[in-house]
């Protein structure tokens, strides 16, 4: 369908605000008399707090409050009773410390479907280096830092379990007393008769694959600002992807009514899943309550943010695949062990989500997925772009490459034989694949990288620098349905001049959602982009309810609400025009700020005339608005592929990416330039995942070794090659304007594609990422590849 605004590369709605430095992030706001909060973190990976002496810290001039786990019940108790904030000072007893869950999921009315409540605001038992033991509120940051050093804590050290092997060992200490063998969850699935499928296959191929812990490294660290307002409600401004969920979780952590919390989300300096979790907010609320509701800002340093927020789960996979000589896969058996760190966060659902989204790519008679999510005394792993899929696709797309080499089959043909087709119905959750452009993505990628010509050229290389080609595929989803509820909210108010305000519960965190929503509204209402004013700030008191930015859901799920809200405004405008002209509304349309005849395009009146009538008609005045919530009980499956060409230096172990293309089927692309930006960013992040990034820990003590941006090897502009982004736009009938998800998908397939290219170049299979020069060099040496 031909659109005017949708499908065009219009500039970001917030581009000018951001390029002039006017866009305000949390740290750019302050309140008079604002205090500073800081956290005392555990120096031990596993320890009991025997005693805490805060007297010296409290005595330091400028210190307003020192808080330990003992104070939390009192502060909570005071909060729970309206009008008794001052009761903080009293010694109320009988209120136990409260455990809460931090993962940014929609709430579930079904208790069995809720996240694990295992977190205290401040703990008596440290479970990782960085765990929150105590907190200080002071007049300035320097005083707060000094006060932290004056807090005397006596710890009893416990055995630290830093690997999943150690945590799973018989007799290992339990990190959470209610989780046997330190297992958080093991919910997998079986489709078909796996034993039979493997048995009747011509070949049985096995492989083991491993990914490492990495960190989001959004440029803006976690930060919030909390105070108690004159109605004794707790107001928290925070850098989050999920303001409405933060509201609920803060209230749960404090044990108060959800309506007593108000969360405001200004511009956010990146999230990538790390801000789909509640980290600093409950403690920030407690800090403010401890000083009589005065404003307190709590900002994590980079070193804190890298260990005391969330990381990406390291996974270990064992895969067994039964395949016939013609390449048809009969059965796949995947065992996965993921290291979820010290607390549950999203851990249980990440392993299951990865295994779920994996099912949409290949068709087999039987599939068995056995995940184990295991606690260790390392920083908490949580949501990060891809949510379990970068790990499982690294494993399987490496494995299928290994199968193709063992069976001497073309790797692309082998994949094509086994890919799903449009119309496929998932046997477990009944999701229907209504659009599937994976084959076209493969063909396009193959052409872009000149696969056949280069393959012929790179046969049998012997030199120091060897080139190779690799590819990998993926499938994902648009939002979380049917696992979780998918509500999107949008509200539109039309002004007298025909321009509109668009209010959203969906959050802009850099991905460009505000802009694509504005494009949808502009398209439906026939107005230019500058007449759609997006309210970028979410305020839970004001913004429509929407659970926020995660699962690549917003353009699809929230977009449905936006489209409906715009259509409702359009219907109302045409009704006004009808009342003024007697032309039946169904014969009218909106184009170029005019009400026009649908068939001929003949102009009937300016949009502004109808808008003015709606405001000032002496009898029927009623400004035109819409307020829509959409419950998306459906999903659309995006697909894509990476093609990579590498040059490997046998002497140094350095992998240079010469060319890399990501081709995506994300349905209709609303804004090509923004969509390419998502692909560039995802591929860039994936290149780090594949060849340089890893958060390192001392295996014995759990001490983080590189939690800063110097030692953690985040790619710089010098490290990223030119990234090719292309799209196969298979419009999905369920999506607004035919869209499917795009935010997370670009990060899924580059790592296995690069790994397969290195295998092609050198004959050496790297089954563990990152493939940093040290590891590559050592493995080449092992394989007898290094020259001298």
């Amino acid at each position: 369908m031909a659109y005017t605004v949708v499908g065009k590369s219009v500039s970001r709605a917030d581009a000018v605000a951001k390029v002039t430095g006017k866009a305000k992030y949390t740290d750019d706001f302050s309140e008079r008399g604002m205090l500073v909060g800081k956290i005392l973190h555990s120096p031990y990976a596993h320890a009991l707090v025997k005693s805490i002496d805060v007297s010296k810290a409290k005595a330091l001039p400028g210190v307003e409050a020192v808080i330990t786990h003992q104070d939390i019940p009192k502060i909570r108790y005071a909060t729970a009773i309206p009008g008794v904030i001052e009761a903080i000072a009293t010694d109320e007893v009988g209120v136990a410390e409260l455990k809460y869950a931090t993962a940014g999921h929609p709430f579930s009315l079904d208790p069995s479907h809720r996240d694990k409540e295992d977190r205290y605001i401040l703990t008596q038992r440290a479970r990782f280096i960085g765990d929150n033991i105590a907190a200080v509120v002071a007049t300035d940051a320097l005083t707060a830092s000094k006060a932290l050093k004056l807090i005397e804590v006596e710890y009893e050290e416990l055995e630290a379990l830093t690997t999943t092997e150690a945590a799973l060992k018989e007799g290992a200490p339990l990190i959470h007393d209610d989780c046997e063998r330190n297992i958080l969850s093991s919910a997998g699935y079986v489709i078909g008769d796996i034993e039979q499928a493997l048995k009747e296959s011509d070949h049985l191929i096995e492989g083991e694959y491993e990914t490492s812990i990495v960190q989001h490294c959004h440029l803006e660290n976690q930060i919030s600002l909390a105070y108690v307002d004159s109605d004794r409600r707790i107001v928290i401004m925070t850098s989050t992807q999920i303001p409405h969920i933060v509201r609920r979780i803060v209230a749960q952590a404090l044990g108060i009514s959800w309506g007593r919390v108000r969360v405001i989300k200004p511009y956010v300096g990146g999230g990538f899943g790390n801000k789909q979790d509640v980290t600093v907010e409950p403690l920030n609320a407690v800090m403010s309550l401890a000083v009589g509701g005065r404003p307190v800002k709590l900002e994590l340093s980079r070193e804190e943010a890298m260990i005391d927020t969330r990381t990406r789960h390291a996974f270990k996979f064992k895969i067994k695949t039964g395949v016939n000589s013609d390449g048809k896969i009969n059965g796949i058996q995947i065992e996965a062990v993921s290291n979820t760190g010290a607390y549950a966060s999203h851990g249980h659902s990440i392993a299951s989500s990865g295994g779920g989204k994996f099912r949409y790519l290949y068709q087999t008679k039987a599939l068995k997925y056995e995940p184990l999510t295991v606690f260790t005394n390392l920083p908490v792993a949580g949501a990060m772009r891809g949510y379990g899929t970068p790990q499982i696709f690294f494993a399987f797309e490496s494995h299928i490459e290994d199968i193709s080499r063992k069976l001497k089959l073309d790797p692309i043909e082998l994949r094509k034989i086994n890919l799903v087709e449009t119309g496929h119905v998932d046997p477990l959750n009944q999701t229907v694949i209504r659009s599937c452009g994976i084959r076209e993505c493969i063909d396009k990628g193959k052409e872009l990288i000149k696969w056949d010509a280069k393959k012929a050229l790179y046969k049998e290389q012997k030199g120091v620098k060897r080139r190779g080609l690799g590819m990998a595929c993926f499938s994902y989803a648009s939002g979380t349905y049917p696992v979780a509820l998918e509500l999107g909210g949008a509200r539109i108010v039309m002004n007298q001049d025909g321009s509109v305000q668009l209010q959203l519960g969906a959050t802009e965190i850099g991905q460009g959602s505000d802009t694509v929503f504005a494009q949808m509204v502009a398209e439906v209402l026939g107005i230019p982009m500058h007449m759609v004013h997006v309210i970028s700030t979410q305020d839970t008191d004001i913004s429509p309810f929407d659970t926020g930015s995660y699962a690549s859901r917003q353009t699809y799920v929230s977009g449905m609400a936006v489209e409906k809200a715009a259509l409702e405004v359009k219907r109302k405008v045409l009704a006004v025009a009808h009342s003024m002209t007697d032309i039946p509304a169904h014969l009218l349309d909106l184009k170029q700020q005019h009400i026009v005849m649908k068939e001929s395009g003949e102009r009937v009146m300016e949009l502004e005339v109808a808008a003015m009538q709606s405001y000032y008609d002496r009898v029927h005045a009623q400004p035109i608005t819409s307020d829509v919530t959409n419950n998306a009980r459906i999903n659309a499956i995006p697909y894509g592929v990476t093609f990579a060409e590498v040059e490997v230096d046998i002497k140094t172990g350095k992998i240079k990416i010469l060319e890399i293309f990501n081709v995506h089927d994300s349905g209709k692309i609303v804004n090509p330039q923004l969509a390419e930006g998502q692909v560039h960013g995802g591929v860039g992040m994936a290149i780090g995942y594949a060849i340089s990034e890893q958060l390192l820990f001392d295996e014995k003590t759990g001490q983080p070794l590189n939690n800063n941006l110097l030692d953690y090897k985040l790619p710089t502009i010098m490290d990223i090659p030119e990234i090719g982004a292309a799209f196969v736009e298979k419009e999905d009938p369920t999506g607004p304007f035919g869209v499917k998800a795009l935010g997370e998908p670009p990060i899924i397939s580059p790592a296995p594609a690069i790994r397969n290219a290195v295998l092609d170049a050198t004959g050496v299979a790297f089954n563990r990422i990152p493939m940093n020069p040290q590891r590559v060099f050592e493995k080449f040496k092992e394989a007898g590849l290094t020259l001298n």
């Binding site: 590369s9 500039s11 970001r12 917030d14 581009a15 000018v16 605000a17 951001k18 390029v19 002039t20 430095g21 006017k22 866009a23 305000k24 992030y25 740290d27 750019d28 320097l142 989001h216 490294c217 959004h218 440029l219 803006e220 660290n221 511009y267 956010v268 300096g269 990146g270 990538f272 340093s301 980079r302 965190i509 850099g510 991905q511 460009g512 330039q673 923004l674 390419e676 930006g677 692909v679 560039h680 960013g681 995802g682 591929v683 860039g684 992040m685 800063n708 941006l709 110097l710 985040l714 790619p715 710089t716 502009i717 010098m718 990223i720 030119e722 990234i723």
Partner: protein, 170 residues
């Protein structure tokens, strides 16, 4: 301990006392209300806090405010015209889609502005090296490189036999 310093920021002269322990970033953000420079790491690793000091990009989180005495400082707030007209560099960042979350943007715009105003020629690799002190996690740097090249139009050296190209470490 406090020390009196005099400096200009975006063409305006200031003369006041600062705590000798304060960074220039803290003074700009907390005292002058110029919040365009951002803190991403606090130790000079990410470049989000960059401003131009006598025309040269500096990480202000590790630049003491007292060192700014007598200096001419330019922040992102001083780049656009008085009526909000975007500079050529800002326009290039908008047009090329070089902005996502926007946290690294002010620093990158300022460094690119310094390169442009130097009047020097750069190869693409040299340009990347000049920008490599700015970390960005959103864009994969693709459109940032494009925007920088567009900003320096006419000053990007592409001929492979030029002395620039030979000097570049690729």
């Amino acid at each position: 301990m406090f020390k009196r310093i005099a400096f200009t920021v975006n063409g305006k002269a200031y003369d006041f006392e600062v705590d000798v322990r304060e960074s220039l970033l803290e003074v700009l953000r907390n005292h002058l209300g110029l919040t365009g420079a951002k803190q991403g790491c606090g130790v000079g690793e990410c470049g989000a806090c960059s401003v131009l000091i006598d025309g040269v990009p500096h990480d202000t989180c590790i630049f003491l405010a007292v060192w700014a005495d007598g200096k001419d400082i330019r922040t992102i707030e001083g780049v656009a015209g008085i009526n909000g007209e975007l500079s050529q560099v800002q326009q290039a960042f908008v047009e090329e889609g070089a902005i996502q979350c926007g946290f690294c943007t002010p620093g990158l715009v300022l460094t690119t502005t310094a390169l442009k105003e130097s009047g020097k020629d750069y190869t693409r690799e040299e340009l990347k090296r000049e920008l490599s002190g700015h970390l960005c996690r959103c864009t994969g740097y693709q459109n940032i490189a494009k925007a920088a090249e567009k900003s320096l139009e006419g000053h990007i050296c592409t001929c492979e036999d030029s002395p620039h190209y030979k000097g570049a470490i690729i």
